[in-house]
Symmetry: C2
Subunit: 704 residues, 2 copies
Amino acid sequence: MSQPRDLSPLINPKSIAVIGASNEPYKFGGRPIRYMIQAPFGGPIYPINPKEDEIQGLKAYKDIRDVGKPIDMCIITIPAPAVLGAVKACAEAGVKSLVIFSSSFAEVGGDGAVWQDEMRKVAEESGMLICGPNCLGMLTPDNWAIGTFSTMFDHGWPVPGGLTIMTQSGAVGAHILVQARDRGLGIRTWVATGNEVDVDIADCIAYGASDAETKVITAYMEGCKNPDRLITALKMAREAGKPVICMKVGSSEVGAAAAATHTASLAGADAIFDAVFKQFGVLRVHSLEEMMDVAAAALVSPLPQGRRLGVVTVSGGAGVMASDEAEKIGLDVPELPQIAQDAVKAAMPYAAARNPVDVTAMATNQFDLLQQGLEAMLEHGKVDMTMVFLSAVGFSDRIMEGLNKIFPEIRAKYPEAIMAVSMLCSDENRRKFEDNGYLVIEEMNRGLRIMEALARIREGFDQGRESDPLPALDADVRIPSKILNEHDAAELLAGVGVPYPEMKVATSADEARAAVQALGGRCVMKILSADIQHKTDIGGVKLNVSEETAADAFEAITAGARQHMPSASVDGVLVAPMAEPGVETIIGVQNDPVFGPTVMFGLGGVFVEVFKDVSFRVAPFGPGEAMRMIRELRSLPLLEGARGTKAVDLVALANMLSRLSVFAAANADRFESIDINPFVARADGGVALDAVIAPKAQNSPVVD
Amino acid sequence: MSQPRDLSPLINPKSIAVIGASNEPYKFGGRPIRYMIQAPFGGPIYPINPKEDEIQGLKAYKDIRDVGKPIDMCIITIPAPAVLGAVKACAEAGVKSLVIFSSSFAEVGGDGAVWQDEMRKVAEESGMLICGPNCLGMLTPDNWAIGTFSTMFDHGWPVPGGLTIMTQSGAVGAHILVQARDRGLGIRTWVATGNEVDVDIADCIAYGASDAETKVITAYMEGCKNPDRLITALKMAREAGKPVICMKVGSSEVGAAAAATHTASLAGADAIFDAVFKQFGVLRVHSLEEMMDVAAAALVSPLPQGRRLGVVTVSGGAGVMASDEAEKIGLDVPELPQIAQDAVKAAMPYAAARNPVDVTAMATNQFDLLQQGLEAMLEHGKVDMTMVFLSAVGFSDRIMEGLNKIFPEIRAKYPEAIMAVSMLCSDENRRKFEDNGYLVIEEMNRGLRIMEALARIREGFDQGRESDPLPALDADVRIPSKILNEHDAAELLAGVGVPYPEMKVATSADEARAAVQALGGRCVMKILSADIQHKTDIGGVKLNVSEETAADAFEAITAGARQHMPSASVDGVLVAPMAEPGVETIIGVQNDPVFGPTVMFGLGGVFVEVFKDVSFRVAPFGPGEAMRMIRELRSLPLLEGARGTKAVDLVALANMLSRLSVFAAANADRFESIDINPFVARADGGVALDAVIAPKAQNSPVVD
C-alpha cells in the first residue's frame, strides 16, 4: 500500500497567510482573519494586501514573498485571473499548502480551466499542497486554523474532538459541519475540497486514517478522480479501525459508463461505487441526518460483536415496534436464555421475559427491580446490543432522579455493553445519560437503525481482517488483441477455471455429424464467428441436434450466416452437448472507466432484466468477497434450492468469480467487457453456455 | 354508513369526577386533580373519597351518587377488585363516560377478565362510555379536561390545536403526545384506549372525522376488534378530508390467521391491515418520528396535487442528492418548461435551470435574483411542490435578513404553493419561515419524504372521490354448503366472471376419448374428486393427452386414485384443453378472522413462493381498487409485457378481481378460502386452470 500524502501543513498549519486579506470583517478576505483573531488561532497570521499596512490590527505584507518566515498555509481569495500568479508567488515563497476560495476555474471552463491546469503543474513541481480552487476551505478546531469563509461561526464555535469531516461540496459540507456543531460532536478537522486540482477526498480520508486524533471519518462525495488512491485510503481506514461513513450522491444519474454491452447498461457508475463501499468496509448512508446519527454514535460507542438485540421496554407495544423494525433492518431479537428469563422474572414476576422484555410501567416506580431486570439481560442475555424504551418518563423529575441513580451503576458493571435509551427528557438529563455511554434518542426505531449501522461497520472491519487470499492463475492466460470467436473465448475462460462443456468445431456437414456422435448425441450447434453476436436472430443456433439431424442443421446454420451476414468471417459451427438444467445466471466483467475491471453477477431472465437484481465487485477479490457478492442478491433463495430444487454449489461459484476477477485485473488493459451469459449454476458447479470477450479499443459487441 | 358514537362526554366533558381522588398530588388519584386545578379545567371537579371531606382544596364526596349534579366524565383509579362496583355506581348516578386507569383486568385474565366482561355489560345497558380499563386516559387542552395520570405536564403544557392523537398504548401514546408538545403542535384531543372494553380506536377515529376542530388524526394501533367500525371510521375521515396517519405495529408477528391454506400462510394479519390502510386512504408510517413529521406538515400545508417536484439549491451536489431521494421515493423531478428555464436564466445566467435549479451560493448575496428565480419556478415550472436547499446560510444574520424579506413576499404571491426549505438556522428564524407556510427541516431528504407522504395522503383522498362502483353479480351465485369438486367450483366461479375453459367430465375411458375429441385434442386430464387436493402426487394429472392416449390416461388416473386414496369419492376425470401460455398468476380469497373475505393476487412460482410478491384488498372493492392492487406488485412489469411478450389485459384482470371480491363478500358466511391457482393471465383476458373452494366449518384443504 502506498504511503498517503502528508497533509499536515494543510490540516495543522502553524502559520497562515491570507492573500486578498481585507479590513472588512464580513468580506471573504476578512472573515478568516476575523475568526482566527477571535478564536484565537495558535500561530502567526500574515495578511497579504499590496494596499494596506495593517489588516484588522495585524501587520500586513505587500507580497507573500515579503513575509520572510515559514508559512504552512496560505489562503487565496482574489479574482480568478490573478490567482495563478499568487500561486506561483506562494511556491517561490516556500508556502507548504494553499486554500483557494476563488472560483471560475475548471467549473466554468475556458481560461479558468487553463489556469487550473497551470496550477496543477505548480503543485506537482513545487510539492505545495493545493486545496481548491472554488472551495469552502478547512477548519481544525484544535489550534483554530480557520481557512474558510463560511458564516457558521457567527452562531457558535464547534468543539475539538475526533470527527474528521471531508466533503467535495462546500454548501453540503457546511451543512454537515453545522449539524455536527449543533449536536456537540467534537471535530478533529473539516476540509471542503472543491475543484480538487491537487488535494482530493481520497487524500483527506487517508489523512484521517493515519491521524492519531481522528476517531471517525465522514465523507460527502460526488465523484472520484483517482480510484486507486480512494481504495488505498479506504483500506488504510479499515486497517486502522476507523469507521468511514460516506454519503455519495448520484445514484439516480444515468451512469457515464452506460456503454453498449448488456453488463455496462446495468452497471452505472453508482452501482460500482456501491460495490467499492461494500468491498472496503465503508458505511454508505443516504442522508446527512443518518450520517450524523451514526457518526455521533460511533464517536462514543464500541461496535457490537453481532446482530443480537435485546429490548427492554415499559410498554408491550413498543416491544412489538422494536421487533418489527429489527426484522426490517436485519437485527435478531433472540429469545433470552432461560437463566436470563428466570433472573428477569425473579426481579419482576409480572414482566414478559422472553425478549422483548416488557417490564411494564410499574418498573418506573421500582428502580431496584428495573435495575435487576436490565442487569439480568446484560449478564445472561447473550445480546450484542440493548435498546431500553422509557417513553416520556424522563419528564417526571421523580422518576428521572431514580433513573439517574441506577443507569450509572449499570454502566459501571457493564462498561463495554452497547446500550441505547429511547426517551424524551431534558437536554440536561440526556447529557447525563450520554456521559455514561448510553446512546439517547427520542425515536426508538431510529436508535435501532443507528445500532444496526454500528454492527455493519463492525462487519466491514471483520471482513478486512478475514483471510481471503486471491487465487493464483496460470500467468499465461492473457487476452490476445484479436477478436476471439466463442470457441477461443471459451477456451481462454476455461483456462481461468470457468467450466465449459467439451466442444467441437465443425467446418463441414460430415464433421458436424461426427462431432454430435462423439459428444453422445443431443447437442446444440451454433454459428462460430467473431463477427456475429446476435446468433439467434439469423438462425445461427439449433438445439437438440441429433446425429441424424446434424448435417441438415449444419447446412441451415451456415446458409443463414451467408444470407444474413455475407461479410462475416465464419470459422465453422460450434457443437456442444445440451446442458443439464440448473439456475440460469449471468456473469459479466465491465472495464469501468473509473474503477477498472468490475465483475457483475446475477440470475438471468427476469431477475436481471426486470428486477436488476445483480451485484458488483471491483476486481480482483478473493472467494470470501465473491461469496458476499453472491449472498447480496435478493434472488439468493433460488440458488440455495428454493422450490425443492437442489442447491447450487455456491463455494464453486464464488471460487470461479474470484478467479475470473483475478484474470480480469491482470488483463485490465486488454479488454472492454467479458460476458458469460448464461452460466447454468448447479450442484455440480454448473456450466457456461456462451463466451464473449470484447477486446480493448474495439467497439463493444452486444451479446444476444 | 352508520353514525359514529357520540364521544363528546369523554372528549369534551363539562364536569369531571374522580373516584380514588387523593390529596397526594403525585399519586395517580391526585395527579389529574392537581393538573386540572393548575390548568385550570373549565368546569367543576368532584373528588370522590369516602375518607376525606376535602381533596386538594376541593369539596370531596363519599360516593359518586352523592354528587347530585350532572357528571360528564368520571375517572376511576382504585384497585381492580373495587372497580366494577364503582362502574355500577357511576351508571346509577347517570355518569356519561368513564376513564378507568386501574389495571389487572383482561390483560391478566382470571377474575380480571370476568370483571371486564361485567363492565362491558354495564356499558351496553347504561349507554355510559368506558375508556379503558388499564389506560392512560385522555386530554383535551381546549378546556383542559385532563383525565390522565401521565407525568408529562411537569415539564410543560401542550397548546390547543387541530391534532387528534389516538393510541391503544399508554406508554407509546405518551411518547407521541410529548413529541407533539415539544414540536409545538396544537392538540385537539388525546385518547389512550387501553383494554378497550367499550370505546375503541375506531370510535376515536370516527370522532376525529366528525369533529370540527380536528384537522389531522394520528393513530397508534396494535390490533382491531371491530373491523367494520374501523373501516367506517376511515371512510368518514377520508370523506371529511382529514388525514389519518397510522402507526400499526406487528408486521413481524406470525399472523394469527396463518391457517393451513396457501393463501392464508402468505397473508398474516398485518398484510391485511396494510391492505385496509391502502384501500381507505390511511397513511401508514413506520416510526413515531415519521408520524410527527407528517402530522406537523399536514397541519400547516395544503396537499400537493401530484408528484412533480421542483428543486432549488445553492449547491449542485444537493440537487443531485434531492434527485436521488426523489427517484427512490417516487417523486418526479421533471425538466422545467423552457419558459421557466428562460426566466431563471434571465435572473441568474450562471444558474443551472433544468431542475434541479442550482442558483449557486452567489444567490445568497443577491436576494432579488434568488427571488426572481424562485418565482420563475413557481410561476412557470408546473411543479406540485418545491424544495429549497439553503444549507447553513441561516446562520449568517446578514443573509437571514435578506431571506426574511423575500420569502414572505414569495408566499404572498403564491399562497397555495407547497414549499419546503432545508436550512439550518435559529429557532426564531425557523418560526418566521413556518409562519409564512414553509416547511422548514434541517435534513433535505427527510423533507422530501414528508412531501411525498403529503402527496400520498392526497392520492388516498382522490381514490375516495373516484367513482368505482361495485359490479353487480347474479344474486343466485351462492356457495353451497357441500364440498365442491373442481368442476363444480369452476362452474360457480365462471358464473362470477372468472374465465374457465370448456371442460368435460368423463366417467369412462370412452367418454374421456370423446371429450378429448370434442375439445379438439391436446387436452389436460385431472382426477375429479373433492377429497383429493394433491392431484399431481398421486398421478392424477396428465398433460398433452390426445385422442389416441385418452383411454390410457383415463385408466392410469383413476387407477392412481384407487391405489393411493381408496376412500376418496371420485366423480370422474376432468378434461380440458391445454391452455395457451401467458403469465402464471395466483388468485386467492382468504376469509380473514378479523377483516373477513380478503382477496390476494400475485404472480405464481418464485414470485409468490420466494419473493412473497402478493397484494391484498378487503372485499368488496371496485375495478379501480383492483387495478391499484395489481399495480402494487413489484413484478408488474411482467404483466405489462416486459421481455417482449404481449401485455396482459389488466382491465379484464381488474374487473375479474373486483367481481370475485363482490362474490366473496356476498358469501362471507359460506367459505373459508377460494384458490384459483394458477390463473394464466394473457392479452385475451386469460384462463383459470384450477378451482378450490373450501366451505365454512370444514378443515381447509391444501391446494397443490
